[in-house]
Amino acid sequence: MDKTHATYEPRIVAFLCRWCSYAGADLAGVSRLTYPANIVPIRVNCSGRVDADMVLSALEKGADGVLIGGCHPGDCHYVTGNYKTRRRIVLIKQALSEVGIDPRRVHLEWISASEGIKFQSTMTSYTELIRELGPSPVRATKAPVHG
């Protein structure tokens, strides 16, 4: 492991739907609710835009956790984007589990534009969870065999 837990700061990529979770982040902001700086928010047009490659790339590039925030069931602006993503996340989690990665490193949450407090509490508790899990094992991938 390249980092000890003492100096470890989780790096979390959060893909947030602009219509709900990202607006929820804005609301948290204007309400002056603070949340951990470990979260790197990326705005997407719908949680349905978050494909498996984006999630896996984030992990491959060193994210300790990937959080996807989408509209509540029934509220997706593109009607079914959030359902598609939900199914994708189920499969991704199973694949991670198969190779020995804690599937909680990928997490999907429904957060609406009016849920500033839920946004704050989700970001806080997820950061704590990822802190507990420690650095992603993908980061410690065996140095290139052919160095």
Partner: protein
Amino acid sequence: MAKAKIGIYWAAACGGCDCALLEVNEQILDVVAAADILLWPCAADPKYSDLRGYKNGEIDIVLFNGAIRTQENRELAQLIRTKTKYLVAFGSCAQSGGVIGLANQSSRDEIFSTVFGDQANWPQLSSNQDGYDLHLPEFLPRLTNLAEVVEVDYVVPGCPPPKQIVSALFTALVAGDLPATGTVFASSKNLCEECSREREQLKITQILRPHAHESDPDKCLLDQGFMCMGPATRGGCLAVCPAANMPCTGCAGPTANIRDQGAAMLNTVASLIGTGEEGEDQLAAEDAILAQFDDIVGTFYRFGAATSIFKERYHERNATTR
């Protein structure tokens, strides 16, 4: 014009790729007429010392099949790279690690136990037999494709590469007319484009496996619930597997505009799985379909695991937590 100098090499390979070279039948005679084969361990008898004796860049082109599993594979890849002008990753193993990339999910000791049984039978790196010191190449901690070791100029996909693709390569080679480096000798479009089955992008309501269920020979296998990798896989093989009622397992790798072939399949399949209706009341039924997968990595990364995030086994304590 001087005769071209070519080489063929196998690293961690099954031999299928060498056989595939002969599938072109008498065209191989054109190759032999147009080129001297300086290296071909499967069929000829030159020694590694001969290879070392060539000047740098003296060989025009080497077709390299197999993955990098041992120190010998790695050393030879590096040596061949210095001796050849153009290096071709020939077949899925050289291209992306191939099906044996899935062995990275097991440790060296697990693999050795399975293959050799009792530890007393495991191969020793060094031993002495009748006064001779014998050395075996080290088994690397992780299997990789060719491009992770050395620069690759061309890719010929397939497990093994199909006849018409090998033939196209030989034609280019005999004519001394190789395309721009970076070329992948296959279609840039997906396999569905050349498959004769009719695809309607139907909802997948159950996951079927080819050994357990019969398929309708005219309809798209994915539509029927068989996990066919056609949508994410490069064409060029003329869809021979779907034609024989076998879902595509993805040996040709991703199409030109896809980075992660398995991820692209996860997207496709997640979009298609469902009851026919979308809604909160359908989620439990969807989960029941999703739970029918028992080996996602082995299904969608069958040939690409070694070049994906699934290139090794990780050991998180709660990996089975949901």
